[in-house]
Every structure is written in structure tokens, then in C-alpha cells.
């Protein structure tokens, strides 16, 4: 019997130690938990946290970084479990859901000067109730990353790259360039006689994925030049326009590039990384966002060039303008401290620190200039990204309710077009499904 007791006691002891050990991470209200996903920005925000602590000795900021894939799961999980961070980096595609579940603190009564930021960035974070839920921290636009050596081999000049044109009928000079840069295994270029589209060695343009319903870096930079917009109004539109002829013909052109062999097949992108393929010399041009500059610059043996996105049928370029912001979680155990930290994050003092790191463009344009200078020091001309802002050729990231459901409808719809299983006309059906979400939502609201 004593043996049994010993075992039982032992088990209990072990379990309690385990339980206690797990609880050890106690919450100190004077510690502000702050989360972000981009490791590249970690040194900058560490610096901000240290400076903040120097100015507010009673408050310490604990910066936690989690990769994008785990970040949102852990954050939502933390909100449910009531241990989410006090302040976190928020994304436009996610925040409507957090608003819906009332997880964010309105920031109107903070001392943040919301007029200080690049045009439109602060407006993106105004909820349907008219209150502000995010303090802008940085922005991104789209440009074309290209392989300089491949371009010079193909006899395409940098000037040509800077003045590319595009239209949905023949693809403009953009398609000419893409076709010429595509090379099959026999060395025949995409626009030459005898090109074998089933045995391509280097693709003219890389493919990340079908872009789902947003197409931020995938297709919005050319669909946006046609005058087409995702929604009837932005932010908080309640009608999507995927049935528009301009959108559908632009997507048809894009899908056609796969058929011509200039762009890799969608199937080959699953589990692969578009930047890595570029680094491996498998693609000559990649359209991607400014948050990827560091990644593209990191590949050994690639002479990187960055060109602006092409000029469209309406005579202008276009780029989606996406902005991240810092939000406060409703469950914070130190609202005042969190507000102070958010104010500091949104101040020129912190944004200058971030700008000097040269990893993202801060939301305050004078701080963004510091980022441009920091990139220049590393030999990177990032004007292709900043021109969108200075020339006013940006359009805001579309914010609507039901983002997750829309993604659930549009991803398979776009995938089946790129794989050739469906015609672009099928987008009209998808659009009807998407818009039905808003009708239903309206009815639900009326029922309430």
C-alpha cells in the first residue's frame, strides 16, 4: 500500500510542479507586451522600446516576434485565452474581423496626430463606427524586381524598364519584355521561332499564387491601371466588382501568359517560394511589395534592379497602398501605458529609428525618406516604390467586412482560372457569391 501512495504522491507532485512551472510567466502590468511578425524590423523596434523605457522608466516594453504564419493564429488564440499582447502590429486584411469581435480599443482619445501620416494611411484604420483603431506605422507599394544580368543579356535597357506600358489586349511593352526574357532549355527566347513553352528554363515573370480576391502583389498593379476598383467604395465598401469586364479581361491576359509559357504554372508554385526561384535564376522579373526588398537583396549572385510597375491604358501606373498599424487589444492590463506606447510608435522619434534601419517605409513621410537614404547606402534604388506615393498613383487596400469568407470564395475561383479549368466569365458567379455575403449581413443586421 505504501508503494501505491508513493506513486500517487509522486504523480501529484510532478503534475503540480508542471502546472506551477507553466504559470510562472506572470503578468506585470508595467510591462507592455508588443508583438510584430517581421524579424527584419526587430532591431528597430527593440531600439524604440529602449528609448521609450528611457523616457518612461516605469514602463517596460517586451517585444515578441512571431512569423507571419503563426502570428495570426497565436494572436486570435491569445484573445480567446485572454493572454493576447497589449499592443500588436495589425494588418488591414485582418482587422475588420477583430473589430467585429470587439477586440480593439478606439484610439481617438490618444495624443496621436493622425494628419501626420502619408495620405490615406490613417483613414484605412477608421472603423465603420467612425472611430480609429490603428496608429499607422508603415506602408508598402508594389514594383517589379528584376535580374539585371538577364536584362542586359536580352538587350533590354533600364530606361525601357522604367517606362513599361501595359494593356489587356496585347500586354503592351511589358509583355514584349516578358516574352523576350523567357528562355527555353534550347536557349530559344519566348518571342522567337521554335520556342518550346513546355520546356522553359527561365520564365519572364515569376508567379507567387493566384492572388485570391486582393491580388495585392500578383495582379492589382495592372488591374488597377484600367480604372477598375475592387469595391464600390473604400474603406468599407459593400459591393465587389469582380464581374467588371475590365477586371476580367486583365485577368484573362495574365492567365494567358501561363498558356504562352512566359509565367510558371500555378501548380508549380505550391510549396515553392517565388523569391527563392528568382534567387535561383528561374525568373527574370517578379512583381512584389516593398516589404520584400530585403529578401530580394539578400540573394548572392543576383544583380538586383527595381523598376516601377507599368503605365496602363489610362496613362498612369497603379499600386495598392497597404499600411500596417499598431492596435491595442481590449484585454490589455495597462490601457494608459499601452496608449503611451502606441503614441510613441506613431511619433517621428520612433519612426525615424525604423526609417534608419532601411527595412520598411515608415508612415511619416519624413521618416520614410530616411529609409530611402538607408536603402541607398546599401546600393538599392527604391524610387520605384516611393514614386507611387509622390506621384499619387496609389489606391488604398480594399477594406470590407467578410474578408475571410471572400478569400474562401475568390481563392478557388482565381486558382481555377490560372489552371485553365475555368474561363474568366466564371468570376461573375464568384462575384455574385461574394456580394451575397453583404446582402446576408445586411439582413442579419436588420434582424438584430
Amino acid at each position: 500500500m505504501s508503494r501505491m501512495k508513493k506513486i500517487a504522491a509522486g504523480t501529484v507532485a510532478v503534475l503540480s510542479v508542471a502546472a506551477l512551472g507553466g504559470c510562472a510567466g506572470g503578468d506585470d502590468p508595467n510591462t507592455i507586451d508588443y508583438w510584430l511578425w517581421d524579424a527584419n524590423q526587430l532591431p528597430g523596434y527593440r531600439q524604440c522600446a529602449a528609448d521609450f523605457n528611457a523616457a518612461n522608466p516605469d514602463l517596460t516594453v517586451k517585444v515578441t516576434q512571431l512569423g507571419w504564419d503563426d502570428y495570426w493564429g497565436k494572436l486570435t488564440n491569445g484573445m480567446v485565452a485572454e493572454n493576447a499582447p497589449d499592443v500588436f502590429t495589425n494588418h488591414l486584411s485582418k482587422y475588420p474581423d477583430y473589430l467585429r469581435f470587439e477586440q480593439l480599443v478606439p484610439l481617438d482619445d490618444t495624443e496621436v496626430d493622425f494628419d501626420r501620416y502619408a495620405d490615406g494611411l490613417a483613414d484605412l484604420w477608421v472603423g465603420q463606427d467612425g472611430q480609429r483603431y490603428g496608429v499607422p506605422k508603415d506602408w508598402d507599394t508594389i514594383a517589379l524586381f528584376y535580374n539585371r544580368d538577364m536584362l542586359s543579356d536580352a538587350g533590354i535597357s533600364e530606361d525601357e524598364m522604367a517606362e513599361l506600358t501595359w494593356n489587356a489586349e496585347d500586354g503592351g511593352t511589358l509583355e514584349d519584355v516578358i516574352a523576350h526574357l523567357t528562355i527555353d532549355s534550347a536557349g530559344v527566347r519566348g518571342d522567337e521561332e521554335g520556342f518550346d513553352k513546355n520546356d522553359v528554363e527561365v520564365y519572364g515573370m515569376g508567379l507567387a499564387n493566384s492572388g485570391s480576391g486582393m491580388g495585392q502583389a500578383e495582379w492589382s498593379w495592372f488591374t488597377g491601371t484600367t480604372g477598375w476598383t475592387h469595391t464600390n467604395e473604400n474603406p468599407w465598401g459593400d459591393h465587389y466588382n469582380y464581374d467588371d469586364e475590365r477586371f476580367q479581361s486583365a485577368i484573362a491576359w495574365w492567365a494567358g501568359l501561363i498558356d504562352k509559357g512566359y509565367v510558371p504554372r500555378l501548380e508549380t508554385t505550391v510549396g515553392a517560394s517565388m523569391p527563392d526561384n528568382f534567387g535561383a535564376g528561374k525568373a527574370a522579373i517578379n512583381s512584389h511589395g516593398s516589404w520584400m526588398i530585403g529578401q530580394y537583396a539578400s540573394y548572392d549572385g543576383i544583380d538586383l534592379g527595381i523598376a516601377p510597375t507599368p503605365i496602363g491604358p489610362e496613362g498612369e501606373r497603379a499600386s495598392m497602398f497597404n499600411g500596417l498599424a499598431d492596435s491595442i487589444w481590449v484585454g490589455t492590463d495597462n490601457l494608459e501605458g499601452s496608449k503611451k506606447w502606441v503614441e510613441y510608435l506613431g511619433s517621428p522619434a520612433c519612426q525615424d529609428v525604423i526609417g534608419d534601419q532601411g527595412v520598411v517605409f515608415p508612415a511619416i513621410l519624413s521618416s520614410a525618406e530616411r529609409a530611402v537614404a538607408a536603402y541607398e547606402e546599401r546600393g538599392l534604388d527604391v524610387s520605384a516604390f516611393t514614386e507611387h506615393v509622390t506621384d499619387g498613383t496609389t489606391f488604398l487596400f480594399p477594406i470590407t467586412a467578410n474578408a475571410a469568407q471572400i478569400d474562401g470564395i475568390m481563392k478557388p475561383a482565381m486558382d481555377s482560372i490560372l489552371t485553365g479549368q475555368a474561363d474568366v466569365g466564371s468570376l461573375t458567379d464568384a462575384n455574385t457569391q461574394v456580394n451575397r455575403l453583404f446582402e446576408d449581413a445586411g439582413e442579419d443586421a436588420a434582424d438584430d
Partner: protein, 305 residues
């Protein structure tokens, strides 16, 4: 002595006769071994490479720009700036903490599951009670329930118990039993000879004492097998710890996510990821090296019965 030599020479002669077949067999075996080892080699090769140079030399059979930076990242010996300069993720990984958590998690769940499962298995195999086989059938049927089905109810239960983020909350769903373990041990107990137990019973031992002092010691080999299998399974468990753990209780499998892409559509830190994978596989490899023979023995042992 003479006899033995003859046999050996004869053996040699026989081998020579089938040389071509043997050569073919060895070639096949060699290819099979190469195919199964290649992925491990590739992990090693990638972990010893410079991440920024990997893409340009993706088909290189040898490490690209050989360096140990990836391992330094795994053990947290590299600053964020250095890591980024090498094309690494720059993310922080609290390796030793995760390793400790993994060890605690896998050890406690294994110890608990093996102990409690063998108790249950003994009850199913030896004790006589009403509807025993029906209950066992029901029990076994739960093998058919995919674990993902129980994830959400378990999560809510653990949340309501206020145990999210604790090691206790993480081990609770595993500590008592797994249907497979009960089945495995029950089959073994059924095949054990009753005579020893009956002898113990005549000597006046209680069921508990019979179980602890007669049955369990005789079942050491299958227990070891079960423990090893459970431990490996728990070591590799990902989804549940991802749901429940927080920074202080994060286990290695979840921690490896640090090396995945840090920003949307980015590329993973391949060399860091491979180095971490390699390092996290080491404890299981050691277990195999130490207890591998035991598994083989136990199979032989149960075969004899």
C-alpha cells in the same frame, strides 16, 4: 575445428557461385539505402550552407559556402543583425527553453500514458466485470476518431479550466491514456501465462500488488516499446502544443516555426530550419540508439509467446 573450417570454406564457395545475383542484390540494397538516406543528407547539407547562397546553388550536392551560422542561430548564439546578414530569419529562438519544454511534455505524457494505459489494459485483460468487452469495444472505437475532432472541445475545456499556456494544460489530454496503448498492452497481457498471477493470488497478493510486482516487471519489454513509440509521437506532436502553449511553454516542434517565412510570401530560412530540425531529431536518435535493441528484443519476445 576442422569441421568449422570446412563449413566456412563451403560457405565461401556457395557465395562465389551466386556472385552476380549477390552483386545485383547489393546494388539494389545500396540504391534503397541511398534513397532513404538522401533526405537526411540533404538536411545536413542545407543546414551547413549559407542561406543567402542556397537559391543560386540549389542543385549543389555539397554545402554551399560551408558555415555553422545556421546552428549558431538555432542555439541563439547569433544576433539578429548577423542572422539577417547571412540571409537567416533573424527571429529569436529560445532553443534550450523549448528543448526543456519538449522533454518535460514528452516525458510526462509518456510516463502517464504508459502507466495508466497498462492499468486499464490489465483491467480489460484480467479483471472480470460486467460488459467488459463491450466497454473495450467502445474504447477501441475511439481509435477511429481523428484527433482533430477532439482538438476544439479539448481546447475549450482547457480554456475553461484556466490552463491555457500551462504545461499542465498541454499534457492533460494525453496523460491518462491512448486507445492504442491500451489495445497494445491488453493484447500482451492476454498472452501472459496466468499461472504466475494465480500463484501470487494464492500467496494472498491483492490485484494491485499482482499488477505492480508480477505483471508489470514481466511486461518490461512491451512497456519499453510502447514508451518509446509514445515518446516519439509526443516529441513530434505539433498541433495541440501550438494551440495551448505560450512563449514559456512552447515546445521544439512549434518553435521550429520561427524559421519559416517571417513575412507573407517570404522565403523560409532554409538552413536555419534544417539545422533546427537536425538538432531536434537528435534526442530521438539517441533514444533509438540506446533502446533500439530493446524494441527488437521485445518483438522477438512477444513472438516466442
Amino acid at each position: 575445428m576442422t569441421t568449422t573450417t570446412t563449413i566456412v570454406t563451403q560457405g565461401r564457395r556457395i557465395r562465389r557461385r551466386v556472385t552476380w545475383g549477390a552483386v545485383f542484390g547489393w546494388i539494389c540494397l545500396g540504391i534503397a539505402i541511398a534513397i532513404s538516406i538522401l533526405p537526411f543528407y540533404w538536411v545536413l547539407r542545407t543546414s551547413l550552407s549559407m542561406n543567402s547562397a542556397l537559391a543560386a546553388n540549389s542543385s549543389s550536392l555539397l554545402p554551399v559556402e560551408f558555415n555553422l551560422g545556421a546552428f549558431a542561430r538555432v542555439f541563439g548564439l547569433q544576433s539578429t543583425e548577423e542572422a539577417l546578414a547571412q540571409g537567416g530569419s533573424g527571429a529569436e529562438i529560445n532553443f534550450w527553453q523549448y528543448l526543456l519544454n519538449s522533454t518535460i511534455f514528452a516525458t510526462l505524457t509518456t510516463a502517464g500514458a504508459v502507466f495508466f494505459s497498462s492499468m486499464a489494459a490489465y483491467a480489460f485483460a484480467r479483471l472480470r466485470w460486467k460488459h467488459r468487452d463491450l466497454v473495450f469495444g467502445l474504447f477501441l472505437a475511439t481509435v477511429l476518431v481523428p484527433p482533430i475532432f477532439t482538438a476544439l472541445p479539448n481546447f475549450l475545456l482547457i480554456k475553461n479550466l484556466g490552463l491555457l499556456g500551462t504545461m499542465f494544460g498541454m499534457i492533460l489530454p494525453y496523460i491518462f491514456m491512448t486507445p492504442f496503448a491500451i489495445f497494445f498492452m491488453r493484447q500482451f497481457f492476454l498472452n501472459m501465462s496466468r499461472e504466475v498471477e494465480e500463484a501470487a493470488m494464492i500467496d494472498g497478493a491483492s490485484q494491485w500488488r499482482i499488477f505492480m510486482q508480477v505483471v508489470l516487471p514481466n511486461a518490461a519489454a512491451p512497456l519499453a516499446t510502447l514508451a518509446l513509440l509514445t515518446f516519439m509521437g509526443q516529441w513530434n506532436e505539433y498541433f495541440w502544443p501550438l494551440l495551448v502553449s505560450d512563449e514559456s511553454t512552447r515546445v521544439l516542434t512549434v518553435g521550429l516555426g520561427t524559421f519559416k517565412s517571417q513575412s507573407p510570401q517570404g522565403a523560409p530560412d532554409w538552413s536555419g530550419l534544417m539545422a533546427a530540425t537536425l538538432v531536434s531529431a537528435v534526442p530521438v536518435l539517441i533514444l533509438f540508439a540506446v533502446f533500439g535493441k530493446r524494441i527488437v528484443n521485445s518483438i522477438g519476445f512477444s513472438g516466442l509467446k
